[in-house]
Structures are given as structure tokens and as C-alpha cells.
Symmetry: C2
Subunit: 501 residues, 2 copies
């Protein structure tokens, strides 16, 4: 059965190759895709072939690639392999592309996700030439049933000069009704309040709009998203989760948190997964998520009633997750909503709802600054994503990581982080498998005492304590945030030189 | 004529000494005051005397001091001289107290101003024992006419166990009607949208409320605020202002900004003052300010019509400014509003209104990270204040500073900032007297090229270029943000060692 019911759009049915031929060297291309879900499956590969052929002819051919967040090997991967990307924003986690960024070949603009759509609309990134957006179906009137993620699709469809749609038959047709696309945004000074006070409130429409006259090609596909299930949480992750849950209980008892907590935001990854698994076995119930990605683990929580509902911008479900979703779809109706990432991550809403933000980190320093993006100061890992949107505006925020990496060669608690993504002014709680440091209302030196005592691995604790003591002694009139500037980053340099901090 | 018309409050009339006697060792004290305006003038001095006497008796006596922002010698200053402050938040600029913080004697919790009232209410800082709040008058029904700043007064009055009022006859009685105190805040999950879409919209009441039963003392005073006029802008400040104004013109021409710009936020200081003076002589008119402090320079703009109106949380007026204000008070009615700092700095509103944020800085690095708070990494200068609230949520943000300090011994453009308050993900435009670097949509290495070429002082430019080149060469697989970790902070260390970077 066709999923392209709009006659005008049907008249644009094309092959991926025909569609890719409409993208020119130097174009900025806005693709769908958020965390391995809802990215275009066919046009990027065809475009990559075109680019490779152009390169073989000695022609320059690179595009600016803008997305919701990370995509998959069939999008970022193939274009990176073809050396077809000049500029990339707002987020990447593809290993091939990461290598090109770190080689200095690709310009990567690592952006707060809530800023990406508005700043594009402001004109800060230049013109968007083409949008390539996966959808689930195109209805007779031209409205589009979104796919497994929304991300920045609304803005790309609105702002692009030309639009290529991929209609993916693999995506459940039953997605219709699971989306809430807000069309009330405006440029200042014409912006209005976002009238959402409950995470599950609908403020938009179930469909994406597109001007059919702008649609230059419609490509039908039938290909899965890339998400794979997470491994069961390891020992460190489970310990981190246990510390965090104990702390939440403590906050409820202290009257600083309602028994049903506040809306949960959870990053993606093994530690976040362990937290969700921990919640599932806990006494908490009737919780709600206001987050970016709905992972398999959240289906468990929805099934058990631990989670009453979840708002996100992406289904980050594995194959089995999608099967489970389909089998129980009626149970999820009205309990899951996908929104544009400018809404899922909006500071106004994150602050109003009082979100509890839980995100992983690469490292934290003794004064509470957090590095989420850079390995040893220079090489990008993935990007800041939504962690800044949620952390800054959260009621309470957590950063989670094992206390060591690389089999103990790296301490994730260091004298000074090699890159700052979340400042000492922003970070509330740091958790490792060693314990939890509640930094609220503490001065930098009190934070240092607590982080070293509670979070650092015993192998590194004494050296951190010694660092603070010598830093305090070195400059008696500079003891607010005592540092030895010629030693602050020496742990990282030592790792680069010797393989051990 | 009395300014304490409420009979119950009249019955509480006390001397400053009687009032100060109600404050106990270890109390957390929430005082009024924002940028040298509206702080209590008598009770802190009486408290400082009490503390000194206790110390002379060998007794421990320190309090936690919470304010709106900075105060003055008669508040922070006297309490610091008495060694009477244990913990201080959310902001300080008093030199005596700064020295104690940097000596490690006082715990300073340097906090985003928009976070201070909500986090206090959440219980993150502990109990507030006493509020000491200056007001202009107490009306018969107990409502309070606010003083020359609002800051966190609403929250302190609401949350404190006991309240001491100072009624200052020096403050113009005509302030009545110039304030808009919003009483719609709530703890999550009960928060609602802030229904403000124009900077001058009233969403609150002209008065502060207090439960008269909590008022333990009312002290009458007659003492001026401390603000002094700024010096006329120097050459570097005027050059910075000129670059910034040129850029705003350019943005208007490019269609990225309306001809009347967007609401302006401006930090306090010489450079900010130069920008305001520059605007006053420009073709711009009908502008509006959504900012923290209404300085003398803004009266000029209001008088000339360059500014149609201004919302702030504090009158940072000099004596002559107050005189001018009083002489033209009818012309300012309805064109000036003071709000609580949680509203003046609220992310929801800053983002919605599309504020243009202009703040000073201590230093920026070549990749666009900004240090607003720390001198050579360890010693606090003032604090982050509202710069993070505005920068992160602004439509467009600027950081302004001369390219050198200490007669050229310090470059304000460095390889790596010694402390990060605003990350590379947040900063749009850096301006020095050398020029302006528009960083929007640029990768870190492109930012470096532009900052070095446009903003760095020629004396340091080649060494910065050399740093980037050697950093790129040192690790060919880590070129996203190329750093030499053993050299990144060497400029600061060299300054500490030799007095020159």
C-alpha cells in the first residue's frame, strides 16, 4: 500500500540517485536523524557515490551537513567515507566522521541542540539549500507523518529552498499520532510563551508540514534504523545507579523532591541505562520522562508503570524494541510523545518543568567543572548535544561516570578538566562508582574536598589531595580556586606521554 | 512624614543595634542590595560591631550572607572587616571581602543570578534565618514600596524565618509605581508560563509583600546608595563600542536584526558605558533595554529617545543620576520598571525576548571560551553574575574587553583561558579595540584564526598563531581543538613568574 497519498508528492517519486543529483557541491543539506533514528536511508548513499565520482574526476564536492543529532553509517558514515562533508553541525557520533574532524579535514560546529534550529532560522549558519527528511507517510493533503525522530525536521522543511523526502516503509505506519510538532515558534520580537506545563501536554500537531511546491523528490525506502540494544549494565554502572537512587530517596525524605520525583532526562549510554534499570526495580512509580531519546529501557519502565509517560524527540529503539513497541502499541498511545528538539530541549520548558538531568561525562575536575566532549583537551569525542540545555536549566543535575577509564590508566576526576562544557556554576552532583558528591551551595574548595573523598578512585585520591594542598600553599592570596597552572593539565600530558595519568 | 504607616510595623520600630541583636551566630542572613543600590545601610554596621565585640570576647560569630548581587562598604565591607562572613552568595564585588575569599577565609558560592532565588527556595542553600531588606516605605496595609533595587528581596521576605526592614528616607518616595514584583512563581511541578512578551509588560505588582507577624524590627535610615558616576569612556572603550555598533548595523542590513534591534542587556563598567554612549550618538532610536542595572548612561538614552524604555532589577544611579531622575520623574514613569532578578535574568524571558547580551570579560581564548571571574585561574575577581543567564539565552551575545591589561603585560586573548565561565558553545562575538570576531557557525580552528586576526593585540598575535600551528602539528589526530597541554596555561604562569605574559 502506498504511503505517498498526496498526488503532488506522488508526482515527485524518484530514485535515490535522481534525488541525490539535485544536491550541488557547496550546498548546505539539512538531514533528518536523531541518535540513530529517523535519518534518511538512501539519498546519503547515492549522494556519497556522486561525490566519489566527482572526486575521481578531480572535482571538488563537499556539502555542509546539518542534522538533528547523530545519524548512522548510512548517513554520516557514507558521506564521511566519501570525504563529502565540509561542515557538520550540530552533533556527531560517527567514528569515521569523528576521525576526519580530528584530522582537521571537517569543520565541526558542536552546538547546544536547543540552539540549532533557532540559530539556523536566525541565519547564523547561512542558507539551507536542501532538506532530506525521512517520514513515515505523506497523507493526501500533503501533511507528513513523522518518522522515528523529529529532531530539527520542522525547521529544515520550513527553511530549505528545496526538499527531498524519504518515505520509509520500515517505520511503523502506527507512528501516526505519537508526535507533537509545535508550529508556534517565531523570530523575536514576535515570540510567545510556550504553553506547556505538563510533559505530556500537546501544544502542536501530529504532522509535519511542507510546502509541496518545494518538494523536488520523494524516495521510497524500506530500511531499519541502526539502534542496537545496550549490553546489560556492568558493575560500575550499577553502583553509580545505586548511589543516584539513594540520593533521590534522600531528597524526597528531605522534602526537596516530590515522591514521584520530577521529569527525568537521561542521556544515552550504558550508565544512563543502568539508572533506568535501577529505577525499574525500585519503589518509585508514576514517574515521567522529559528527555531526548526513548530507549528500550524506557519501554520496560512504561510497561511496569514506573514511568507513566515519556516525552522525547527520538525513538532510539533496537529491533527488538521496535517489535515490543508494535506489540503493545495501544498501551503506549498517549503515553509517548515525540517533539521537535527545540521543544524537547527548550530552556523555558526544562526550567519550568523542573527536570532532573542525568548525563554522562568524560571527566570532571575537583572544582566541579565537567568535560563532556573532548579527549585530552584536543580531540572531539561526540559533542555537547543536549547536556547543556538540560544541565543549566534543570531543577537538579547529575554527571555520571566510572572514576577511571582505560583499565585504570585515566582518572575521570582530574585537577583541571582539559575542556569545559559545564562550568562550576552549573554542576550540582557528580557520581562515580565510588560515591556521590553533592556540590550544591559549596565553595570551590569545599567541592574539591567532597569530590576527592567521594568520587575519585583510591588510586588517584592522594595525588588529588596533594595537588589542592600545594596549590593552596603556592599562592596564599589566590585560594578561591587554588590551581598550580604549570601542573593543572599535567595529568593529561602524562597520559599522552606515558599511557597513564 | 513617616514612611511606616502600617500600625503593626510601626510597633516594631527599633534602632539598628536592637535589630542587629536579633541576628545570631551561624544565621543565614538574606540582605537586599544589587550593584550598590538598595542594600541595608544601618543594620550591617550594627551587626559588624556586635560581631567584633563577640570576637573580642573570644566568641565565634559569623553569618552566611546572601544578597541580590554586590552591595557596598556599609554592607559587605563592614561585615568583611569584622570577619563576620562565613559563606557568601550569589555575587560579590567588595574588595575587602574579595581578599578574604581569596585568602580562603570566606566560602564564596559564585552563582548564576537567575538561579539564586529558586535554588534558595528549593532548599539547596539551607534555611534562611533572617532577611534584612531596605524599602522605600511601608504602606498602611503593610505592603512595601521597594527601594532602588529589588534583586532577591521577594524571595528573602517570603522565605526568611524573621524579617528586619530598613526604611530609607533617602530613597525617593516617588519610586512607588516603578516596580513590578511577580508573585506567580512556584516550585515544580506547579510552575506556569511567565506571560511576558514585551520587556515593559507588567506581570506583577508594584509592592513587595511581607507577613507582618514575621517582621521583628523596622529601622529608619536616611543614607545614600553608593554608586558613583563612571569616568568618561577611554579610547579603547570607544573603539570597542564603535566595532560593536558597526556590527549591529551590519546585522540590520543583513536582515538578521530589526532596525530597532532587540532588547539590550548591558553589563556594568566602563566598556558597557562606552557602548551606551555610542548608541546615544547613533542613528538607532526607539530601543528597549531588558537588563539588570539602569545606569546613568541609560538616563541619557531615555532622555534622547534612543531608548524607549528599560526593564532592570536595580537603579545603579549616581547622586547626580538620582537628581536627574527626580527632576524628570514624570518623563520616566511607565518607561522604567524594576523586577526581581529571577525575572530580569530569567532564561525563559531572555530567550523569548531575543536579548542582545553585552558583557565584559577578563579573558577569552582562541577557541572562544570566556573567563569572566578568575584572575590567573585561582583568584576570584567578582563573579559570574547574570552574564551566563543572558549569554546562553541571548539572540546574540558579545564579550567585550581591551586586548591587553596591565599596560600591555597581559594579553586578554590567550591560548587557553585559566577559568571557563562561558564555553565555546555559548559565545557568539568577541570584541576588543583591535576589532570584532564573529564566531557564529565556525569550528574551533576557524574561530582561532578569526580571534587572533581580529581581536588579539599585535604584540601577542604571532605567538598565538605559532601556538595553534605547533598544536596542530603535535597531534595530527587531535586537531578539532588543537592544544599543547604543557603550554596551554604557560602564558598565565609566565605572568605570575615574571609580571609579563
Amino acid at each position: 500500500m502506498t504511503r505517498v497519498s498526496c498526488p503532488l508528492l506522488r508526482s515527485r517519486l524518484s530514485t535515490a540517485e535522481e534525488a541525490a543529483a539535485l544536491i550541488k557541491p557547496g550546498d548546505n543539506v539539512g538531514m533528518s536523524g536523531f541518535t540513530g533514528a529517523g535519518y534518511p536511508k538512501a539519498v546519503p548513499t547515492a549522494l556519497a557515490r556522486r561525490i566519489t565520482e566527482a572526486h575521481e574526476r578531480g572535482e571538488d564536492f563537499r556539502v555542509g551537513l546539518w542534522t538533528g543529532a547523530s545519524t548512522a553509517p548510512e548517513a554520516d558514515g557514507v558521506l564521511a567515507e566519501a570525504h563529502g562533508i565540509g561542515t557538520r553541525l550540530p552533533y556527531n557520533s560517527d567514528p569515521t566522521l569523528r576521525a576526519l574532524i580530528n584530522a582537521g579535514e571537517v569543520d565541526y560546529v558542536d552546538t547546544h541542540l536547543s540552539h540549532s534550529a533557532p540559530q539556523m532560522w536566525f541565519g547564523f549558519y547561512g542558507r539551507l539549500n536542501v532538506a532530506v527528511v525521512e517520514v513515515t507517510a505523506a497523507l493526501p493533503d500533503g501533511l507528513l507523518v513523522p518518522s522515528s525522530s523529529i529532531g530539527n525536521n520542522k525547521t529544515w522543511l520550513d527553511q530549505a529552498d528545496a526538499v527531498i523526502l524519504e518515505v520509509n516503509h520500515w517505520q511503523p505506519r502506527e507512528f501516526e499520532g505519537f508526535h507533537d510538532v509545535y508550529y508556534g515558534t517565531a523570530l523575536p520580537p514576535h515570540r510567545r510563551p510556550l504553553n506547556l506545563v505538563d510533559p505530556m501536554e500537546r501544544i502542536g500537531e501530529p504532522y509535519l508540514r511542507v510546502d509541496p511546491q518545494k518538494v523536488v523528490a520523494v524516495v521510497e525506502t524500506n530500511a531499519p534504523d541502526r539502534n542496537s540494544p545496550f549490553d546489560p549494565p556492568g558493575e560500575a554502572s550499577r553502583a553509580i545507579a545505586a548511589h543516584l537512587l539513594d540520593f533521590l530517596r534522600h531528597e524526597v525524605v528531605a522534602g526537596r523532591m516530590p515522591p514521584q520525583l520530577l521529569p527525568l532526562q537521561s542521556g544515552v549510554g550504558n550508565v544512563a541505562n543502568a539508572v533506568l534499570a535501577g529505577l525499574d526495580g525500585s519503589e518509585f512509580s508514576g514517574l515521567v520522562a522529559y528527555t531526548e531519546v526513548l530507549q528500550d529501557a524506557m519501554l520496560d519502565l512504561l510497561d511496569s508503570g514506573t514511568l507513566r509517560a515519556a516525552s522525547a524527540t527520538s525513538f532510539g529503539l533496537s529491533d527488538t524494541g521496535v517489535q515490543r513497541f508494535m506489540e503493545n502499541i495501544d498501551a503506549y498511545k498517549g503515553r509517548i510523545l515525540l517533539r521537535s528538539e527545540e521543544i524537547s530541549n527548550h530552556p523555558e520548558l526544562v526550567r519550568r518543568l523542573g527536570v532532573i538531568a542525568m548525563n554522562g561525562m568524560i571527566e570532571a575536575d575537583i572544582y566541579g567543572n565537567v568535560n563532556s566532549t573532548h579527549v585530552m583537551g584536543s580531540a572531539i569525542m561526540n559533542g555537547i548535544g543536549g547536556s547543556g540545555d538540560f544541565t543549566r536549566n534543570a531543577y537538579l543535575n547529575f554527571f555520571l561516570s566510572p572514576s577511571t577509564a582505560k583499565d585504570g590508566a585515566i582518572s575521570t576526576i582530574v585537577p583541571m578538566v582539559s575542556h569545559v562544557d559545564h562550568t562550576e556554576h552549573d554542576v550540582h552532583v557528580i557520581v562515580t562508582e565510588q560515591g556521590l558528591a553533592d556540590l550544591r551551595g559549596l565553595s570551590p574548595t569545599d567541592r574539591a574536598d567532597r569530590i576527592i573523598a567521594n568520587c575519585a578512585h583510591p588510586d588517584f585520591r592522594d595525588r588529588l589531595t596533594d595537588y589542592v594542598a600545594r596549590a593552596k600553599a603556592s599562592r596564599p592570596t589566590a585560594r578561591h580556586t587554588p590551581h598550580l597552572l604549570d601542573e593543572a593539565l599535567s595529568w593529561h600530558q602524562r597520559y599522552l606521554d606515558t599511557g597513564h595519568m
